[in-house]
């Protein structure tokens, strides 16, 4: 039985795990490798590391960090944040990243998905999509949710799949940070429209939100950050709860 995955997301700046709201009030919450190992021991199924360091500094620090994570972690991890060229991707993969998440670059130059999937295989390519629901339509945003693109969400996700994405990581900007639950309706439609796995992101605040997203949609995984970092929802108790609700999880 394939388990539904629980994925903590760690934001990285200058090699440290940080937490902030909309890039403001950023605080240091720990060492990315130590936090990753702790999550792994607690039963996280996978980790996502998102580098929010300024691009020019990232070129130096990120490959070293990825190498350190790959050396120490015994579960899969995805790295994202500013991958804009094939060469960036290559360096991260050579240092042991299991998957890459591409966001803005995928929208502005979609052929990067095709190239990455062709060279390394679809399983390396996670296309991350940030979108906002407004005036009856879901619009894709880039640059960390700051720039609207005019692109409609579901057609974009289908294109990403056709170009070779292996998974979609969808963050609803309307739900992110609210702790009121995932964007269940949008996720339901998305997971039904594509045949690759969809990872739900944005809105987790309580255990029941994870149950809802797995019961009401075909999302394969649920990602969250603050509820895990601040210990609001310990992963072992979340897994136990989901198993008790009859959901397939790895315990």
């Amino acid at each position: 039985m394939l388990a539904k995955r629980i994925i903590p997301c760690l934001d990285i700046r200058n090699g440290r795990t940080v937490k902030g709201i909309n890039f403001e009030n950023i605080t240091d919450v720990g060492d990315p490798v130590e936090m990753g190992q702790l999550y792994s021991e607690q039963g996280a199924d996978e980790l996502v590391y998102l580098d929010i360091t300024a691009t020019h500094e990232k070129r130096k620090t990120l490959p070293q960090l990825v190498r350190r994570i790959a050396k120490n972690l015994n579960i899969p991890f995805t790295v994202g944040g500013g991958v804009s060229e094939l060469s960036d991707a290559e360096v991260l993969l050579e240092n042991g990243a299991d998957k890459l998440s591409i966001n803005s670059a995928a929208v502005t130059q979609p052929e990067i998905i095709t190239k990455l999937a062709g060279k390394y295989g679809s399983q390396f390519v996670v296309v991350a999509v940030d979108a906002r629901f407004e005036n009856g339509e879901w619009e894709v945003y880039v640059n960390g949710g700051r720039k609207p693109t005019g692109r409609e969400l579901f057609s974009w996700v289908r294109e990403a799949e056709e170009r070779g994405a292996g998974e979609i990581l969808f963050t609803s900007m309307n739900h992110d940070g609210t702790k009121n639950g995932y964007a269940v309706e949008a996720l339901k439609r998305m997971a039904a429209e594509v045949s690759i796995p969809v990872i739900a992101s944005g809105g987790a605040g309580q255990k029941i939100h994870f149950k809802e997203v797995f019961e009401k949609t075909e999302a394969e995984a649920a990602l969250a950050a603050s509820v895990f970092h601040y210990g609001e929802i310990p992963i072992p108790s979340l897994k136990k709860y989901l198993a008790g609700e009859g959901l397939p999880v790895r315990v």
Partner: protein, 193 residues
């Protein structure tokens, strides 16, 4: 006591080397036939596409080297598929070490099969200390059929070989290097064969 990790045009090879480091074992990533032939153990890992991987192995003469190895060999993921007879992925003739065909998942489920799934009917020293129904990490779109040398099975739409063993050749479709404590135990069991 060196383990050679076969270097070819497939991904995730570095993570296997790191997994050996975590077990305090020495691993050398190499495409040198001599080094591979002289190693105590050989790991044939990889994530990628079957036909281009086979072409690369043939160009380097590594196909014959691998087939003729007498020491314990562990194929992982694409490694397992290449050790089978034939892969539907771009109609590729493979190394034919296991009498199994590799097929694409034909289901209404999500493809690739990504994530943690359970292994059953464990019957090999490779799984010593690993419980029936343990979760291990998979990421693949093609699978090897069940056959007489299957030593573990998994179900995703249909049942398929999670691991195969014949003579000195063992292979897993899942990634022991990314399968937490269970994976570490399986890798250690192989290295202690």
């Amino acid at each position: 006591m060196k383990t050679a990790i076969v270097k070819y045009n497939a991904g995730n090879i570095q993570s296997v080397a790191f997994a050996l480091e975590r077990l305090c074992r020495e691993g050398v990533i190499t495409d040198d036939p001599k080094q591979i032939e002289n190693a105590d153990k050989v790991i044939f890992p990889g994530v990628g596409e079957a036909s281009s991987a086979m072409r690369f192995l043939e160009e380097k003469g590594l196909d014959r080297v691998i087939k003729n190895l007498r020491q314990p060999v562990l194929g992982i993921c694409l490694g397992l598929q290449l050790m089978c007879e034939f892969s539907e992925e771009n109609h590729t003739q493979c190394l034919n070490l296991f009498p199994a065909k590799v097929k694409r998942f034909d289901t209404n489920l999500k493809i690739p099969h990504v994530g943690w799934n359970q292994v059953y009917n464990l019957r090999s020293p490779l799984f010593e200390g690993v419980e029936e129904g343990s979760f291990v990490y998979f990421v693949h779109s093609y699978f090897a059929e069940l056959n007489q040398y299957t030593i573990a099975g998994t179900e995703y739409g249909n049942r398929f070989s999670a691991a195969i063993q014949f003579n000195n050749f063992t292979a897993t479709q899942f990634h022991p290097e990314r399968s937490g404590k269970n994976g570490e135990r399986i890798l250690k069991n192989f290295l202690d064969l």
